[in-house]
C-alpha cells in the first residue's frame, strides 16, 4: 500500500498491515530456523520487547509449542550514553532456558543506524553465548552506520534522514500504526 513518495505525517502501515507483517515474519522465522526448535526471542525495550511477545505468540500458534521470549535492555551499552543525560533503565528478562547455545533472534521496531543492535549484541554476550544470533525488525528504514543487516524485515521503508519513523503499538500508544513524519 506504500508509495515510494511519502509525504509528512502519513500512516504507512495500519493495524492490519502490522498484523500481516508479523504473521509473515513468524512464518519466515519458522521456515528458516527449520521448525523453531531451540529458538529464543529477545526484544529490545520498549516496543521491540512488545513485538517479541506478539511474534512469540504467532510462532507458538504455528508450531503448537511455546517459544521462550525475553527482553534485553541496551541502555548501558549505548555508544552515545555520554551525549545525553543519564537515561532510565529498562527491564532485562532472560527466559528460564537462558540464551547459552540457543538460536536467539533479536527483535526491534525500527532498524536505522544499526547502533542499537550493536549495543544489543554486547548486552547479550554478558548473559551467555548463543549458538546463532539473528535480527528481525518491523521496519528497516536504511541509513546504516555499522555493518549490520536484518535477517527478517516486516517492511522496507526508504526514508530520508530528515524524516522520523514513529511506531505506535496498542500496548503503549493506544493504536497500532507506523507513521512517517517530516522532521525538517
Amino acid at each position: 500500500m506504500t508509495n515510494d513518495f511519502l509525504p509528512s505525517g502519513r500512516v504507512v502501515l495500519d493495524a492490519s498491515d502490522i498484523s500481516r507483517a508479523l504473521t509473515r515474519l513468524a512464518h519466515e522465522i519458522v521456515e528458516r530456523t527449520h521448525g523453531a526448535t531451540n529458538l529464543t526471542l529477545m526484544g529490545i525495550p520498549t516496543r521491540g520487547a512488545t513485538l517479541a511477545h506478539r511474534l512469540g505468540e504467532k510462532i507458538s500458534q504455528i508450531q503448537g509449542s511455546p517459544v521462550p521470549v525475553g527482553a534485553i535492555d541496551i541502555t548501558m551499552y549505548r555508544d552515545d550514553l555520554r551525549l545525553r543525560p543519564a537515561r532510565a533503565l529498562q527491564p532485562t528478562t532472560i527466559p528460564p532456558e537462558g540464551i547459552e547455545g540457543r538460536l536467539v533472534i533479536l527483535i526491534d521496531d525500527v532498524l536505522f543506524s544499526g547502533r542499537t543492535i550493536r549495543a544489543a549484541l554486547d548486552a547479550l554476550s554478558e548473559h551467555g553465548r548463543p549458538e546463532i544470533v539473528q535480527l528481525a525488525v518491523l521496519v528497516d528504514r536504511g541509513h546504516r552506520e555499522l555493518p549490520i543487516r536484518a535477517d527478517y524485515v516486516g517492511k522496507n521503508l526508504p526514508t530520508s534522514r530528515a524524516e522520523k519513523i514513529q511506531v505506535n503499538l496498542v500496548e503503549h500508544d493506544g493504536s497500532d500504526e507506523v507513521r512517517i513524519e517530516n522532521n525538517a
Binding site: 548501558m76 550514553l81 555520554r82 543519564a86 537515561r87 533503565l89
Partner: protein, 312 residues
C-alpha cells in the same frame, strides 16, 4: 543529578528514579552480569575521613560493577595525618581527574563545602557527614521497605516507620525522616529525651519517649546504633537501663504486626539496642539492607555519571 548531599534535595520523582534504576541494576546482578559498562573511563574517589565498613565497601563495589576506576582514600595513612586541609586534598583529587568524590567526614557540612567551594568540578556524594545526613542509607532503607512492603514498585504512601534510639547522633535518622516523608510514609521517632536533637519538634514526624506505645501499627522498626564514640556526656544511666527501655527484644518483636520488618543501618551493638535473637530472626532484613546498598549506590553513581555532565 550533579551532587547528592542531602535527602532533602531529592524530589519524589528523583527518589523514585533512583529506586527504579536500582531495581533494574539488582536484577542485572541476579542475572549474573557481574560488570556493567556505563562508567568505563570515569574515576570515583572514596574520600573517607571516618571509619566505615559497609558504606565504603558498598560504594567501592558499586563503582567497580559499573566499570569505574576507584581510588580509595582514608584519612589514616594519608597526608591528612600530617595536617593537610580538606581544600588541599580536594585540589589534589581534582588534579588527578576525579569525576565523582564520595565523601564521609566527621564534620557536618563537609560534603556541602566540597561541592560548592569551587575546588573540584566533579560530583559529590555525601556518604555520611558528622551527625547531619547519610542520604544513600536513607535510599537503601526506602528501597528495602519498598521491596518488602510495596512489591518493589511505587512510593511508600501509608507506611508507618518507627525509628528508635540515638537520634541525636544519627545522620541516618535525619535522612530517613526527610526521604520517607518525600515518599509518603509516616515516621515516628522514639528516643530518650537526652538523645533527641535540638529542634526535633519541627521535624515532619511524631516524637515519642515510649517505645512500647509505638510498636502497634508499625510496618517497620528501624533500630539506631548507640554511638558511644560521639558521646562525651552521660545520656542515659546504664546500658542495661537503655536496652530495657529502648532495646528491641523478642517480647517486643512479637507484638509487631506479622509482616512488619526490622531494620538496622549497622554496625549493631548486639544486646544494646537490639538483641541477638531479633537481629538474626526472619523478621530482620539487616543483611538485605547491605545488599540493597550496593544496588542503590550503583543507581546513584549511574545517574550522576552515566550521562552527559551539563544537565541537572
Amino acid at each position: 543529578m550533579k551532587h547528592l548531599l542531602s535527602a532533602a534535595d531529592l524530589s519524589r520523582d528523583a527518589a523514585l528514579q533512583i529506586l527504579d534504576t536500582a531495581k533494574q541494576l539488582s536484577l542485572a546482578t541476579e542475572q549474573g552480569v557481574g560488570k556493567l559498562p556505563p562508567l568505563r573511563g570515569r574515576t570515583v574517589v572514596n574520600l573517607f575521613y571516618e571509619d566505615s565498613t559497609r558504606t565504603r565497601i558498598s560504594f567501592e563495589a558499586a563503582a567497580k560493577r559499573l566499570s569505574a576506576d576507584v581510588i580509595n582514600f582514608s584519612a589514616v595513612g594519608s597526608s591528612v595525618s600530617k595536617g593537610e586541609s580538606l581544600k588541599d586534598t580536594a585540589l589534589t583529587l581534582e588534579a588527578m581527574g576525579a569525576d565523582a568524590v564520595v565523601i564521609r567526614h566527621n564534620s557536618s557540612g563537609a560534603p556541602h563545602r566540597l561541592a560548592n567551594a569551587g575546588w573540584i568540578s566533579g560530583g559529590v556524594v555525601n556518604a555520611g557527614d558528622g551527625t547531619h545526613e547519610h542520604p544513600t542509607q536513607a535510599l537503601l532503607d526506602a528501597y528495602t521497605l519498598r521491596d518488602h512492603l510495596r512489591g518493589g514498585q511505587g512510593d511508600l504512601t501509608g507506611l508507618r516507620v518507627t525509628i528508635v534510639g540515638d537520634v541525636l547522633h544519627s545522620r541516618v535518622a535525619r535522612s530517613n525522616v526527610l526521604l520517607l516523608n518525600t515518599l509518603g510514609a509516616k515516621v515516628c521517632l522514639v528516643a530518650p529525651p537526652t538523645l533527641l536533637p535540638y529542634g526535633v519538634q519541627d521535624w515532619d514526624c511524631e516524637v515519642s519517649y515510649d517505645l512500647d506505645a509505638c510498636l502497634e501499627g508499625a510496618d517497620a522498626v528501624m533500630m539506631l546504633r548507640v554511638q558511644r564514640e560521639r558521646m562525651n556526656a552521660a545520656y542515659f544511666p546504664t546500658s542495661h537501663e537503655y536496652s530495657n527501655r529502648y532495646g528491641l527484644n523478642v517480647t517486643r518483636m512479637n507484638r509487631l504486626s506479622p509482616d512488619a520488618v526490622i531494620m538496622h543501618p549497622g554496625p549493631m551493638n548486639r544486646g544494646m539496642e537490639i538483641s541477638a535473637d531479633v537481629a538474626d530472626s526472619n523478621r530482620s532484613v539487616i543483611v538485605e539492607q547491605v545488599a540493597n546498598g550496593v544496588s542503590v549506590r550503583m543507581a546513584v553513581l549511574y545517574l550522576m555519571l552515566g550521562g552527559s555532565e551539563s544537565v541537572k
